[in-house]
Subunit: 252 residues, 2 copies
């Protein structure tokens, strides 16, 4: 029985060279494809992921789809994946979807979170999942900069030089700061799509604003000039997490 499968995943990306399959490196996609191939007895299974998370980036709500040929039902595949995948990559849902479903193209919005550990010495429980950033931060300035971001814009100034897509226009619908319990502070970004390094470059620039090295409207300058050179440094991957991917009510 050939059908299209949707697999939702949560992973600790610390031990992976990112999502996308590579010939000689351990990646999340490669690990998932290996498990699916073993389960379905196929030579190889190709998956498509909603977000190409970078090396060291985590996910709570990554979505992948794959065409599989198997007699196993969804529940059996879910149990099989849970057993075959390592403890740092967990299937959180498995279901059959219409053949037109495309994990990335059918998505209408994605939400990324970037977590800072503001404790003075670094919380050992957050070591893998947050950037330790105990320095003074002007939160009013950061919030002022965040208010300037939402909208439909060309995000070239915040994209990696290596970003190869031609159309760099995306619509950012949410950019905010959440205060967590304990010592965490989390940036939340929601958009219809993101460019390579976009969230990490936004965070790097916002941290510059926070420490007073740039005014809040620096983010507008970066957007208008498309000059990556005046944006802040790319924030490290470990604080970043693909939180969720949204699909329209009529998505295949």
């Amino acid at each position: 029985l050939i059908r299209r499968l949707r697999v939702d995943l949560a992973y600790d990306g610390t031990g992976y060279r990112g999502w996308q399959v590579q010939a000689s490196a351990r990646t999340v996609q490669g690990t998932l494809e290996g498990a699916l191939a073993r389960l379905t007895g196929g030579d190889s299974v190709r998956t498509r992921g909603a977000g190409r998370t970078d090396a060291g980036v985590h996910a709570r709500g990554q979505v992948a789809d794959a065409l599989v040929d198997t007699r196993l039902d969804d529940g059996a595949i879910a149990k099989g994946l849970a057993a075959l995948l390592p403890a740092d990559v967990r299937p959180t849902a498995v279901g059959t979807v219409p053949d037109g479903f495309h994990a990335r193209r059918s998505a209408v919005a994605k939400t990324y979170r970037y977590t800072l550990d503001r404790s003075p010495w670094g919380d050992p429980f957050l070591g893998r999942f947050a950037l330790h950033h105990p320095y003074a931060m002007d939160l009013d300035a950061v919030r002022a900069a965040l208010l300037l971001l939402p909208g439909t814009r060309d995000w070239t100034g915040f994209a990696a030089a290596a970003c190869e897509v031609e159309n760099r226009v995306r619509t950012l619908t949410d950019a905010r700061l959440e205060t967590g319990d304990g010592s965490t502070l989390t940036f939340v970004f929601r958009a219809d799509g993101f460019l390579t390094y976009m969230v990490r470059n936004l965070v790097g620039t916002l941290l510059e604003v926070g420490r007073g090295a740039a005014a809040p409207d620096r983010v507008v300058e970066v957007l208008e000039t498309r000059d990556r050179g005046i944006a802040g440094p790319t924030a490290p991957p470990k604080g970043l997490c693909l939180e969720s991917v949204e699909y329209g009510p009529s998505a295949p």
Copy 2:
């Protein structure tokens, strides 16, 4: 200048053979003593910890004391320890205390937390700090058992066979279940002291009550008979965390 130092620590115990110093194993106490010796230029520094956490057990509020001979002030020692200790052992406070202070003997209460991950497939973000326990649980039965625990009792039935202390009477002042955000469930125990494996054996027995293999009053039977054989299995260390140690207002 010879003085007594109090160091508060948080650690991810995953990579350590527990708190207590051992000749040929990496322990938290050994790591702390090495860093203190390097900082103060002493041949060796002996520390005393409030709780002897087992291999793989974590701490948010471990307390240690040590006699040091150094011209460094408390702030310089705090910074030095933060720099010398590995990322999974963090000093959260450093201060000078009266010489009579004894991290373990001066303590009036300790609180341990044991966290369960109740998600169906296992949350990769909790992999190091919670026991994955997705099975059905009768929470009313567990709470009924918890209500039977507080009091001044002989806890032999919940202690490890290897527990060497003679007086096994301790006063448990709190035993409850907290519902966390997301999929966690946490047991909280507060007492004036704990025996070896006591919390892990309590949790193991409460999980037996939760799955219906024992009635809530099993915990009373274990206490009355002092028969370790009718208690549940020892729960794994990774869910356990020494949350805090309390000292009286006039400590030492």
